[in-house]
């Protein structure tokens, strides 16, 4: 197969390839840099046969030109508007958000030693506990409002996760509105 392709490369250089084969070969060259390199060497061989003093240093030109054209076209490409996320992607994002918030809340609930470390000691830790619980209640309410307002981005799994959080902190389970 390689030999057939190489022979086609040779004919391409001479402009002797039928149009249909030329199209296919050009597409192949896009994904096979080694074929492009071979074509480049065939071109150099022709020049060397005509003029043995030809220097091979010009072999870098193709790559440099291709890079410059690609860079120019990247700059000139109009900025693409982001496509609206699909409901599946929304659901995944929602699940991710809910999961990370739930995790943070759970860390808050269980991580009493952190509070004591912050405050610096045993008696001091005890004295910060009621304040810590009040803050958690405020945070939970805020979290609940957040989750409810972002319900439309959630799929079933993420809603269940959020619902279990709400249950855990003893807020009234929210009836999720079905975005569908």
């Amino acid at each position: 197969m390689t030999r057939i392709i190489d022979e086609q490369l040779s004919a391409l250089l001479d402009g002797e390839l039928p149009a249909e084969q030329e199209s296919l070969l050009l597409r192949r060259l896009e994904r096979e840099p080694e074929s492009l390199e071979k074509l480049a060497r065939f071109g150099l061989i022709g020049e060397l046969v005509r003029d043995p003093s030809t220097q091979a240093s010009a072999m870098v030109i193709r790559e440099r030109v291709a890079m410059e054209i690609a860079a120019e076209e990247a700059v000139n490409q109009p900025a693409r508007k982001p496509s609206p996320p699909s409901s599946v992607r929304l659901g995944l994002v929602g699940a991710g958000i809910a999961a990370s918030i739930a995790l943070l809340v759970m860390i808050n609930l269980t991580d009493r030693p952190v509070a004591s470390r912050i405050s610096g000691g045993g008696l001091a830790a005890q004295s910060t506990l009621p304040e810590h619980t009040d803050m958690m209640a405020v945070d939970s309410a805020r979290l609940t409002r957040y989750l409810v307002s972002h319900a439309r981005y959630s799929n079933t799994a993420s809603r269940q996760l959020a619902d279990s959080h709400i249950t855990m902190v003893a807020a009234t389970p929210v009836a999720w509105s079905n975005p569908e």
């Binding site: 040779s10 002797e16 060397l48 220097q55 091979a56 240093s57």
Partner: protein, 199 residues
Amino acid sequence: MSAKTDDQRLVERVQGGDRQAFDVLVLKYQHKIVKLVMRYVRDQSEALDITQEAFIKAYRAIPRFRGDSAFYTWLYRIAINTAKNHIVALKRRPMEYDLDLQESGGYEPHAQLRDFDSPDRIVQREELREALQGSIDRLPEELRVAIVLREIEGMSYEEIATAMDCPVGTVRSRIFRARDAIDKAIRIHIDGHKAGPDT
């Protein structure tokens, strides 16, 4: 098939948005253009830069190319203009040149350009030339005749088929086999050259 015909099809592909077709045109003519540019600048690095610039200009202008002349003729004119503009631009920037040369009064912009032919590169080029000649000498006669008629006489496959009294498919195969044999013989020398003048 004339050179104009086969390049014209590639040009039309480029005009249709096929960038790969332009790659093929670059591969076909990069050596010729570098040689042409080196008639204006002796420094190989500059010649490569000017050649690159000429091809970029050609790519930008190709939508307007109507095919009144052969593609290579059109590219040739772009390359010459690019080389001349480069020299004119250099003349406007005397501080880029060696001050000793300026002070000595021997200030000639294009003449003072550096020659990058180090002894190593001279040896490499000589080795490449020997490997090439040896590989051509070792080719079976029918392959050697086919490649010479193609590369030196510029004959089409059909013309070569008539001259050698064989089918076009045989001509295509012989030319490929000749290139393949030469490629195997000189590849190691080519890879050494590709690194560029500064290595």
